[in-house]
Amino acid sequence: MKFEVSLVLPCIILLLGMTIFPFFFCVYISLTNWTPPSPAGFVGVLNYVAALSDPVFYGNILRTLTFTGVGVATETVLGIGLATLLNRQFRGRAIVRSIFILPLAITPVVVGELWRILFHYDFGWINYFLRTVGVPPVVWLGSAQHALASCILVDIWQWTPFMTLVALAGLQSVPAEPIEAARIDGASDFAIFFRVTLPLMQNVVFVGLMFRVVDSLKAFDIIFALTGGGPGNSSQTLNLATYLQAFFYFRFYDSATYAIVLYLIVLIFTMIFVRAMRRMGIE
């Protein structure tokens, strides 16, 4: 067997073994009306049709896309910016960098509870600060307008370090000569960053971005801990709905249906990304 393929083979075998059965099981369930412990009855694509005619379903998709779009974009910009700051030499750099991954390292349940306290209308720190500077306090988690925004805020807080870490690693593998050459040529710092550094980092940053998008579309832990879907449905994303259908309503078939739809959405996004990466010469 060729050397190259043999490097990849163990990976593939493990993944195939672990994912084949769950995947087909999930597809099968989405075509039934399984509510355990009653046996499953085949209903074909009825569940999908029902989902497509349910306005809440479209709301879920919209909210998922908003959550991902706003969140990941902000995280990427902030992340790259912070990475450049962290790349400089300064005292205590190692410690600062280690502390910086803390938002990412803390268990989601704690993050959820901490932010519930921060967001609390009466006792929370955010409103306390707002009041001190004279801005009227906001109902963060209890109001439909702000529930999703609050979740996005926490997501940004938690995941910017991810993009920072990735971008930092990318920055550090950028060779010094092109930058020096550009500087010698008289380019401004700004131009150097956007035209030399950034493209050299793009391999890594793009992969990080793609993973963030995939993970964000499937975001669950934080939203569940913060709002559980929010007042009404205002912060319910598709993955949350999948969980609720399975464990709250015991409608496993709806859960499987939503899961498959979410999977397809993520698949489409990823294909777009990969195609873009190939065209940009990253692949």
Partner: protein, 262 residues
């Protein structure tokens, strides 16, 4: 400057967490939040005196550590192969690997639960490790692929011409050169595994429960045991910080790239 401000904003909730872990129940909601409070170590005493805590801690360490190592061991060679060599179907295969991360966990966890019951993998280390490796491989492969592509091929070719075997060249040239990437990937991998919740909840029981499941236990019906929750969180996050601090020293970028010039 800007960095200090960013640090302040990001660390504020962390400060809150440490703050709460040192308070007792009634003082958590004092207004204004910075009014004087008494430090109490009762929460930490409770956690550290809890007889079951070491068991869960060890569970988490074993599961996260082994999953990360296995994912790296399987994923790094694969990533290298994708980055360096063009073989038939390499793009499709790498996309397949990526697709394993796309599935929403909830759709997958129930069939896994049923299968694990049958084959006896429920509530075992191996069961959860296998799942975490499956989830983490995509990240490892694709991140490392990006890092490997950054390394110029010439060094590797020079080594091969000099008489190194391909494996040797890989181990001595490419791997050390992508150390920052490897370290970053390792840190991220460990953190995902350390904090993962849903799979751990469904696929483990009394024996092999890792920390996130245990910590959710503090969020009871009637009230959240904030003090103990935060104390646990602080204790739980320290090993990761420790690990990150240690591996910081191995991110030596400019130094090794200087070897390109020789």
């Amino acid at each position: 400057m800007v960095l200090a401000l960013a640090l302040f904003l990001f660390m504020l909730p962390i400060y809150l967490m440490v703050n709460i872990s040192l308070k007792n129940m009634t003082q958590i909601f004092s207004v204004p939040p910075f009014s004087a409070w008494q430090i109490t170590y009762a929460n930490y005493a409770y956690i550290l005196g809890w007889t079951d805590f070491p068991k869960y801690f060890v569970n988490s360490v074993i599961i996260s550590g082994c999953s990360t190592l296995m994912a790296l061991a399987l994923g790094v060679p694969a990533a290298y192969s994708f980055a360096r060599f063009k073989f038939r179907r390499s793009e499709d295969l790498s996309f397949f690997i990526l697709s394993t991360r796309m599935a929403p966990p909830i759709g997958v966890v129930i069939p896994l639960f049923l299968v694990y019951q049958e084959v006896g993998l429920y509530d075992t280390y191996l069961g959860l490790i296998l799942v975490y490796v499956t989830l983490g491989l995509a990240l490892v492969v694709w991140l490392m692929k990006g890092f490997f592509r950054n390394i110029p091929v010439e060094l590797y070719e020079a080594a091969v011409i000099d008489g190194c075997s391909r494996l040797d060249a890989f181990l001595r040239i490419d791997l050390p050169l992508c150390a920052p990437g490897l370290v970053a990937t390792a840190i991220l991998s460990i953190m995902f595994n350390w904090n993962e919740f849903l799979m751990a909840l469904v696929l483990t029981g009394y024996e092999r429960k890792p920390l996130p499941v245990v910590m959710y236990g503090f969020v009871t019906t009637l009230s959240v045991d904030w003090g103990r929750l935060c104390a646990t969180a602080v204790i739980v996050v320290l090993p990761i910080i420790f690990f990150a601090l240690i591996v910081q020293k191995y991110i030596v970028a400019g130094l090794t790239l200087g070897a390109v010039k020789g």
